[in-house]
């Protein structure tokens, strides 16, 4: 899932400005790939352990000393930016822990900060990401 120019981005209730992209990745951290006595190919596969990571990329126009700390946990929320008049808007929210905060400075991009989050669920069977419709026509 990739969101360009998301709106109303906040973490722990604090608005984050100048967010350019939010990328949500889902990866399996443990893969079951079982074989049996009948031949060389996998006959059963599943992904019983997985993680949802979110990378928030924002543009920095000035010095920034107040950065969140690695390991902080809280509610990460943002809204999609509709590209058309009738587009549906959605709010995405999740409980997340900060894994890393990195910066990149270049002539082409300027100063860019990337914050990587790991989504956490209250129970293992629930997706950490909640998406709700907040406006527009479906």
């Amino acid at each position: 899932m990739l969101l360009l120019h998301p709106r109303e981005v906040s973490f722990l209730g604090t608005p984050w400005k100048s967010v350019s992209t939010i990328a949500i990745d889902r990866t399996a951290t443990r893969v079951i790939a079982e074989h049996d006595d009948t031949g060389p190919h996998v006959v059963f596969a599943d992904c019983p352990e997985q993680r949802v990571t979110v990378r928030v990329t924002m543009d920095l126009a000035e010095d920034s000393l107040a950065t969140p700390a690695v390991g902080m946990q809280g509610a990460l929320e943002f809204a999609t930016a509709p590209t058309g008049v009738h587009a549906t808007r959605h709010r995405v929210s999740m409980e997340a822990v900060i894994l890393s905060i990195t910066h990149e400075v270049s002539l082409r991009k300027g100063a860019v900060r990337t914050v990587e989050f790991l989504g956490v669920s209250s129970v293992g069977g629930a997706d950490p990401i909640t998406i709700t419709q907040i406006g527009g026509l479906s």
Partner: protein
């Protein structure tokens, strides 16, 4: 299809069969009143076969049914039956002596758990 006593205990998921350790039971003479580095054979071991695999079900309850079906074969006194592997090879007079599961029950698309079932021909 594999079976034990005609029951399809392992067919819900992938599984394999193998022999456990075969051959002579050997003890060191040093520990049996003797001396020196020699050893003595006490004859060949009983036939042991291990079925290992993964039980797979679409619900937690269905997986418990599969697990309990195997546990039900663990009786107080040995109750021998015929064990047939995936290739159709059969062994008579086999008894399920232990059933061991892995440390976790996996869940995503389906519910599953790995196991080892140890059979012996007493």
């Amino acid at each position: 299809m594999s079976s034990f006593k005609g029951l399809n205990l392992f067919g819900s998921g992938p599984h394999r069969f193998r022999f456990a350790r075969q051959g002579h039971l050997v003890t060191l003479d040093l520990f049996n009143g003797g001396s020196g580095p020699g050893s003595t054979s006490h004859g060949t071991r009983e036939l042991d076969i291990i079925a290992s695999g993964r039980l797979v079900a679409t619900s937690e309850a269905a997986l418990w049914t599969l697990r309990n079906a195997i546990r039900a074969q663990l009786t107080a006194s040995p109750a021998a039956g015929t064990l047939i592997d995936s290739a159709g090879r059969s062994w008579t007079g086999m008894t399920l002596i232990t059933y061991t599961e892995s440390d976790r029950r996996d869940q995503n698309r389906v519910f599953s758990i790995t196991y080892e079932a140890h059979f012996r021909q007493f």
